[in-house]
């Protein structure tokens, strides 16, 4: 690729390049800022705006998810969960915990590989945040409309593994190394069924773009979801189940939480982390859960489409906000199912995880891909 095409110096070419990026944040800035502002400032400003939006959303969403997880766990386990902090059902528990983690002593153990140890949480959280860029929250509420949205999410979320291996290795702790190695083995294996299980919807929509997928499901008053399509639901439902099992493994949620299985590996790769660095891993887990659920919601459950949403089309801002709400609720429902599973089932052993991935999920997802192709052929 031509460097000049990516970093054009000519203002007209720069504006054209910016327009081509399909970056909604820069588009918005271009509308607001006066003409004559250099293109790189707009790009940087857009990046900053996007980062602020993601960071704010992820922080609030993760805190809510952590509180929800504890309430869900509590009610499943015949207890109440947090009840005191903040008054109503302990709603401020996550904030209190966050403050506690911020104020805790930052311990870097003796003998740790300091560079890796300190870099790992940042890398892990950073990649988790980057995946939010491609999530289709609503019309006009995407940071960047990436053509290969799903591909981007698969690629970036795999980088998290490197951060976790760094954390495990840098901790100078055998249990951490075990956790990291398990993570590497598990995520590398489940990348295959995870990627393949996304292929049936990609074939159905004819696009890797999450926005295109969402817009394709807009019919029938907002209920033309992939999973409801009478011609293809027989592919959509099994492929979603396989996708869901794969994302449990990809986000290391029970029953695939082997990298941090507390009864075997103490706390796995984050055994030696405390304070804010530990909370980075914690945030990453919930961010990854949300992103994966978001992909599921966009591909199978209509994304932001919902009956009645079209009534708001007169006011773009309100419509956008409502769409963001619908998409977030749909994703959170999938996150809730992940929590439900976690507090119900025991944990698999590493060889069973591998068996499930290679012997069952991979062939089944391949069959789904063929079935999806067949469905498209029959439709045409």
């Amino acid at each position: 690729m031509n460097v000049a095409a990516i970093f054009p110096t000519d203002p007209a070419a720069a504006a054209a390049a910016l327009a081509q990026q399909g970056n909604l944040a820069t588009d918005a800035l271009q509308g607001v800022l006066p003409a004559g502002v250099p293109w790189w400032m707009i790009t940087l400003g857009g990046a900053g705006l996007g980062f602020a939006a993601i960071m704010g959303f992820v922080t609030v969403m993760s805190m809510f998810s952590i509180w929800l997880e504890r309430k869900v766990a509590g009610h499943i386990q015949v207890r109440l969960g947090p009840m005191r902090v903040g008054g109503w059902h302990g709603w401020a528990q996550s904030i209190a915990d966050g403050v506690k983690l911020l104020l805790k002593e930052d311990i870097v153990i003796l003998g740790a590989d300091k560079v890796l140890f300190k870099l790992a949480p940042a890398l892990v959280l950073g990649t988790a945040l980057a995946t939010f860029v491609a999530l289709p929250f609503g019309p006009g509420a995407m940071i960047a409309d990436v053509d290969l949205g799903v591909y981007f999410i698969i690629a970036i979320s795999s980088v998290t593994t490197i951060g976790i291996i760094m954390a495990g290795w840098g901790s100078n702790n055998k249990w951490s190394v075990y956790g990291a190695m398990r993570e590497a083995a598990q995520v590398a294996s489940y990348e295959i069924p995870f990627g393949l299980s996304l292929m049936p919807p990609v074939i159905y929509y004819g696009s890797f773009s999450l926005r295109a997928a969402t817009e394709a499901q807009a019919g029938w008053g907002g209920l033309h979801w992939y999973i409801f399509d009478p011609l293809t639901f027989w592919v959509a439902i099994p492929s979603f189940v396989l996708f869901f099992v794969s994302i449990l493994a990809e986000t290391k949620r029970a029953p695939f939480d082997l990298p941090e299985s507390e009864s075997e590996l103490v706390a796995g790769f984050h055994t030696e982390y405390s304070g804010i660095r530990f909370s980075f891993f914690f945030l990453e887990e919930y961010a990854a859960m949300f992103v994966m659920s978001g992909v599921g919601a966009a591909f199978w459950f209509g994304g932001w489409n919902f009956p009645g949403l079209s009534l708001l089309e007169g006011s773009p801002v309100l419509h956008s906000l409502a769409a963001v709400g619908v998409f977030t609720v749909k994703s959170m429902l999938l996150v809730f199912v992940m929590m439900w599973v976690r507090w119900t089932v025991p944990r698999l052993r590493i060889d069973q995880v591998m068996t499930l991935g290679y012997k069952y999920l991979t062939p089944l997802t391949l069959i789904c891909v063929f079935a999806a192709a067949l469905a498209e052929y029959l439709k045409s």
């Binding site: 499943i76 249990w175 009864s263 075997e264 590493i350 069973q352």
Partner: protein
């Protein structure tokens, strides 16, 4: 670390090197414990692992050693009773019972019938409580969190009953030489009956939630198999022995209290989901022993009569005639034996405790090699050790 040498690569009978190259890696030595979530206390297991496969494991004990036996030789008979609570703190009533029976054998006294029935009810209630914790924490060991809380909910009712009868919730000292501390308060026996109904209705919930879960079966069936010979050779008792298919229960084979008057079954592992003697069978035995215990309690409740609960001649200062006595009882974890030597003074000459957890734990060194790392947690959990008892 990884070395591939020409010498170690596999050769077939003709001395021709085969396709596969034998890669030898250095074993990792892992200290599982003394602070580790899966070792149920301060047990330290030194594991040797080749990747995820274990090549060896050795238990190191003594982190909770409190000289219980020595204390027994320096305080008088009744003063030692509260120390017995502390060996197996999940089944303190049974510990009291074992010690009391041994002291009574030295004294040659017979406990009144009502006292015997109360002791039986209490011992079986405590067995249920102990098995609930055993199965619940076993769920934690294989990664299921929720069954533990369900188990604690049921155990809570037993602890409430114990609190009503003796005031304590963990270390009771309720059963004592001569009988029991006091008679059951009004309405207590009805409370026990209510608990039996509750336990009967909730047992299926535990069974379906944890034991019949596909993943639980995968994790425990055919894992950590202890053969009947191994179990006998290593001196295993209790669910550990019966899980291996050996039909041996001291309540039936050396009856004490009123067990010979009760109708119940001795549960033996049958390889319900895997092979006889695997971790699943041990859990299976514990689960069905809960059912049998409820049955026994019901029969005791039907048969119990009014009367004395404690032998009137047994006071607080005991001076048994010189001699020795050994009494073994069926603790939830196996045979709890007390061997007491009296020299006629108010302090025992020797108190020796045969702790079931200690003997059951020994066998894991035999079965750990060849298992996966995650199985180590499953195997240690299935032996259901209480470190207070292994170390005393």
């Amino acid at each position: 670390m990884a070395t591939t040498s020409e010498e170690t690569s596999a050769r077939n009978a003709d001395g021709v090197r085969e396709f596969e190259i034998d890669v030898r890696t250095q074993d990792v030595e892992l200290n599982m414990g003394p602070q580790h979530p899966a070792t149920h206390g301060v047990l330290r297991v030194l594991l040797r692992a080749d990747g995820e496969i274990l090549t060896g494991g050795q238990c190191h004990l003594g982190y909770l050693h409190r000289c219980a036996e020595k204390i027994g030789e320096s305080v008088d008979y009744i003063q030692y009773l509260p120390y017995t609570d502390r060996y197996d703190y999940l089944a303190a009533m049974n510990n009291n019972l074992g010690y009391s029976l041994a002291v009574e054998k030295l004294l040659g006294v017979e406990v009144p019938v009502r006292g015997q029935y109360l002791r039986t009810i209490i011992a079986e209630l405590n067995r249920i409580a102990s098995h609930l914790v055993a199965v619940g924490t076993y769920g934690l060991d294989v990664g299921a969190f929720t069954p533990f809380f369900y188990a604690l909910r049921e155990r809570e009712m037993i602890l409430d009953l114990f609190e009503k009868i003796c005031g304590a919730r963990l270390t009771y000292s309720y059963i004592r030489p001569g009988g029991v501390m006091n008679d059951a308060p009004a309405g207590w026996l009805e409370g026990v009956d209510e608990f039996c109904d509750w336990m009967d209705s909730k047992w299926k919930e535990h069974w379906n939630l944890l034991i019949e879960s596909k993943i639980f079966i995968e994790r425990t069936a055919k894992v950590g198999v202890v053969t009947a010979e191994q179990a006998i050779d290593w001196g295993c008792t209790g669910p550990m022995l019966r899980g291996s298919g050996v039909d041996w229960d001291l309540r039936r084979d050396q009856p004490y209290l009123v067990y010979d008057r009760l109708d119940y079954q001795v549960i033996v592992g049958v390889g319900h989901r895997g092979t006889v003697g695997d971790c699943f069978d041990r859990t299976y035995v514990r689960m069905f022993e809960i059912v049998e215990s409820v049955k026994m309690i019901r029969q005791c409740l039907a048969a119990i009569q009014d009367g004395e609960v404690c032998h009137p001649d047994v006071g607080l200062l005991l001076r048994p005639a010189p001699g020795e006595a050994y009494v073994g009882i069926e603790n939830p974890r196996g045979e709890l034996g007390h061997y007491i030597v009296s020299d006629g003074s108010k302090i025992a000459k020797r108190v020796r405790v045969r702790a079931p957890s200690f003997c059951n734990l020994a066998v894991i060194e035999d079965i750990l090699p060849g298992c996966m790392l995650a199985d180590a947690a499953a195997i240690i959990g299935a032996t259901d050790i209480v470190i207070g008892e292994t170390d005393r």
